[in-house]
């Protein structure tokens, strides 16, 4: 009985590490660097999945810790990912029961919408705290994230059912 329990706990950090690695994978050097703005927020999507699937195990604090890890790995200022992830987590936890009932594409739309608003908020805060200029192409990132959400969802659900 102990083994499935252990695996059930291990699967979450493992998927997070995969999310971090996907975020770090370098683009081929011939690709224009602007393409980086279109990278889906893999780590965020993994956190969103676990918030939806296992809200009894993970919470806002979990999202905060993961976001700090993301900042350290990606070299962004501490708190950069946190702002979006913490508010996203609070939103999801307040309505995960309704969200679970939706079709995957509806979830994707809602996630894109929420991420878009939070990214705007992030840009506003960064505009105050950070003296360097920011590229507004970053507003496209929630859209690509929404595009990959169905696959993230299906793969993670498979992993959870199979291994946890």
């Amino acid at each position: 009985m102990a083994e499935p329990m252990l695996r059930g706990i291990l699967i979450i950090p493992l998927t997070l590490i995969v999310g971090l690695m996907l975020g770090l994978l370098p683009l081929p050097s011939i690709a224009p660097p602007e393409l980086n703005y279109l990278r889906p927020d893999w780590l965020g999507l993994v956190v969103v999945y676990w918030l939806l699937a296992a809200p009894e195990k993970v919470g806002v604090g979990f999202a905060f810790l993961v976001s700090l890890l993301g900042d350290l790995v990606f070299g962004t200022p501490l708190g950069f990912h946190g702002l979006v992830m913490v508010l996203m987590a609070a939103l999801i936890l307040s309505s995960y029961q309704q969200l679970r009932m939706l079709e995957i594409w509806q979830q994707a739309l809602l996630i894109a919408f929420a991420l878009e608003i939070l990214t705007c908020l992030q840009l506003i805060v960064l505009g105050v705290t950070d003296d360097r200029s920011h590229n507004f192409l970053i507003l496209l990132r929630p859209l690509t994230s929404a595009l990959v959400w169905p696959w993230v969802f299906l793969i993670l659900r498979f992993c959870r059912r199979r291994y946890a």
Partner: protein, 275 residues
């Protein structure tokens, strides 16, 4: 809500000061394995290409490299003579002799996933003697400087990052200038270039050694655009970096003979000498 406020406070601190750098430094070794893991796929692919690459092509490459080495060795002969002559003359002038810096080759294992920040990760860290502020070059020019170093990985801020600036010297006119990053890999800008200063497109800029961070004489950039609109006191000047920043694969860590010993506590002769 509380945690969101914490995030905003953190962002404020990070934006305004370097107070949280020790935290980053401490956490760096913990996330090192993740960086190595994510670098693995591209390294594996490169390795496979290397093993299964065309043999004939390889032998031709070898021949070309061999010739290049001979050429460079021949030039080195002259360089050694020139260097000693230069040092002798400097001694006559009473200024300190320019020491030969030793270097260490490092492989680039990661690039910044955020296009707003320009840095690369290299496979040499504190264990190899790398230290914060260390100058990084490639075979064609200045690349940047080390800003974070953990046991086996260092983060190198490129000269094109928006927060990077280098004091430079124009070879043609010996004018002192500053090269600032723009956030784009293909261009750097020169702020506060007075309209009366003699600057032309094509001027080569090398590090001036002012500020004591960068040793004198490494190529930094070539001026690619010079616009002086009438009525403006300052000209708009952009330059093209000398180093191959878009396709970095190997870089050289330069050991400052004075600083390296303070930081690492061991003589730099242990590092691969370029002599």
């Amino acid at each position: 809500m509380l945690l969101a406020m914490v995030c905003i406070v953190l962002l404020f601190i990070e934006g305004r000061s370097t107070a949280l750098n020790p935290v980053r430094q401490a956490a760096g070794s913990a996330i090192e394995p993740i960086i190595w893991l994510s670098a693995l796929p591209s390294r594996l692919i490169q390795g496979t290409f290397w093993i299964f690459g065309d043999r004939l092509d390889r032998s031709q490459q070898l021949k070309a490299l061999d010739q290049k080495i001979r050429l460079l060795e021949a030039r080195q002969l002259k360089m050694t003579a020139l260097e000693s002559e230069n040092n002798r003359l400097r001694a006559l002038l009473g200024s300190s002799a320019q020491l030969d810096e030793s270097v260490l080759i490092a492989e680039v294992i990661g690039v910044s996933p955020d296009p707003g920040r320009q840095y690369v990760l290299i496979d040499k860290g504190a264990m190899d003697g790398s230290y914060i502020g260390q100058v990084v070059i490639d075979s064609t020019g200045l690349v940047g400087q080390v800003i974070e170093t953990t046991n086996n990985v260092s983060k190198v801020l490129l000269i094109t990052d928006q927060r990077h600036a280098v004091p430079v010297l124009s070879i043609r006119t010996l004018a002192q200038l500053v090269v600032e990053g723009t956030g784009r890999l293909d261009g750097v800008s020169l702020p506060h270039v007075s309209g009366s200063l003699d600057v032309q497109v094509g001027d080569v800029l090398v590090t001036s050694g002012l500020g004591k961070r960068f040793p004198k004489g490494y190529p930094v950039a070539t001026i690619s655009r010079y616009v002086l609109s009438p009525g403006n006191a300052f000209a708009e000047v952009t330059a093209e970096p000398a180093s191959q920043l878009q396709t970095l694969d190997y870089v050289l860590l330069v050991f400052d003979p004075d600083v390296a010993q303070i930081f690492t506590g061991r003589p730099t002769s242990e590092a691969l000498s370029d002599g």
